[in-house]
């Protein structure tokens, strides 16, 4: 059995998010008030069910993210 998982990645708060700032500027230009905008990315993947959280964490730590500049959150089952 495999488990479908979603991983969300953002730059760490201390790292300048140039994309987030640009998006915030765009929103303001449209008259849509927003602050603290951050742009991240998401992964969806199916992994073997046994020990799935540890498997996904290892993927995040070793490849999917750069732990020096990014932080991630593993979201459990995602439907399709």
């Amino acid at each position: 059995m495999s488990k479908r998982v979603r991983v969300v990645v953002f730059l760490k708060p201390g790292v300048l998010d140039a994309q987030g700032q640009a998006v915030e500027t765009g929103l303001r230009a449209l008259g849509l008030e927003a602050s603290e905008v951050r742009v991240g990315k998401a992964f969806e993947l199916a992994v073997p069910e046994e020990g799935w959280r540890e498997r996904v964490r290892e993927m995040c730590d070793r490849f999917l993210t750069n732990p020096l500049v990014e932080e991630y959150e593993v979201l459990g089952e995602v439907g399709r």
Partner: protein
């Protein structure tokens, strides 16, 4: 008996400065150089391995991240551990930080846009194999072309890097001052190039291969390759000892 350095230029899917590097090494400088495919598992026939610029794997995931998982990078670790010279230019620098051969990370430019321009660099060290033909504190001109070239490292890593004198090139103005305006991407401490603690692995965002001939607007990059070749020529014994 002549002893000529042998250069390898790694080709990843999406490399686009590989031919420029080979051209400079072979045609401009007259060295023995050849392409190495990213699936190669043995680099032991080379003295210097160049990771060229480009957009390996379309910069997917993070620039250099997918290339860092290539078979040739596993071979590169052994090559570097044995003392071989490694030069990562632009995307090649990104591969070196992603695979952990150099510290830090290269993130999106603070301006949010791709920067393609000439910059001034101050040579911070001349006791590395690559920078020995420059003068201490010399200000040189090289072109950059990148969207993800902002050198970033946490404060303690940066302090460590400076204490060990691993910053080799810094973005400066024409007078050698590291002003905010002279920093094209917002790099921490204006870092443009970093060398490993062992001194044999250098990564830099500027393109020395694009300024190795006067007709291209400058020759300041040329001495980087010449310095490496000279270093190799002076150490013929290292080739016999090299493994892997």
């Amino acid at each position: 008996m002549s002893f000529e350095p042998r250069f390898g230029v790694v080709v990843f899917p999406g490399s686009n400065c590989d031919r420029d590097c080979l051209y400079v090494l072979q045609d401009v400088l007259g060295y023995a150089a050849e392409f190495v495919w990213h699936e190669a598992q043995d680099l032991s026939r080379f003295d210097v391995v160049v990771l060229p610029g480009g957009f390996s794997y379309g910069d997917y995931l993070r620039a250099g991240a997918v290339a860092a998982t290539s078979p040739v990078v596993a071979a590169l670790r052994r090559f570097a551990a044995a003392g071989g010279l490694v030069l990562g230019i632009c995307n090649g620098f990104q591969v070196l930080v992603e695979c952990g051969l150099l510290p830090g990370a290269l993130v999106r430019n603070h301006s949010g846009v791709f920067r393609c321009q000439w910059v001034h660099l101050r040579v911070e060290r001349t006791d590395t194999p690559f920078t020995r033909l420059y003068a201490p504190g010399e200000v040189v001109r090289m072109p950059i072309a990148h969207g993800e070239g902002r050198y970033y490292a946490p404060t303690e890593v940066l302090a460590d890097l400076e204490a060990r004198r691993q910053v080799v090139f810094r973005y400066v103005d024409g007078h050698g001052q590291p002003t905010a305006e002279a920093n094209p991407n917002g790099s921490c401490n204006a870092v443009a190039g970093v060398v490993s603690a062992t001194g044999n692995v250098l990564g830099l965002m500027p393109h020395p291969e694009r300024c190795a001939e006067a007709t291209l607007g400058g020759e300041d990059g040329r001495r980087l390759f010449e310095g490496a070749a000279l270093w190799v020529r002076e150490r013929p014994h290292l080739r016999a000892e090299a493994v892997g």
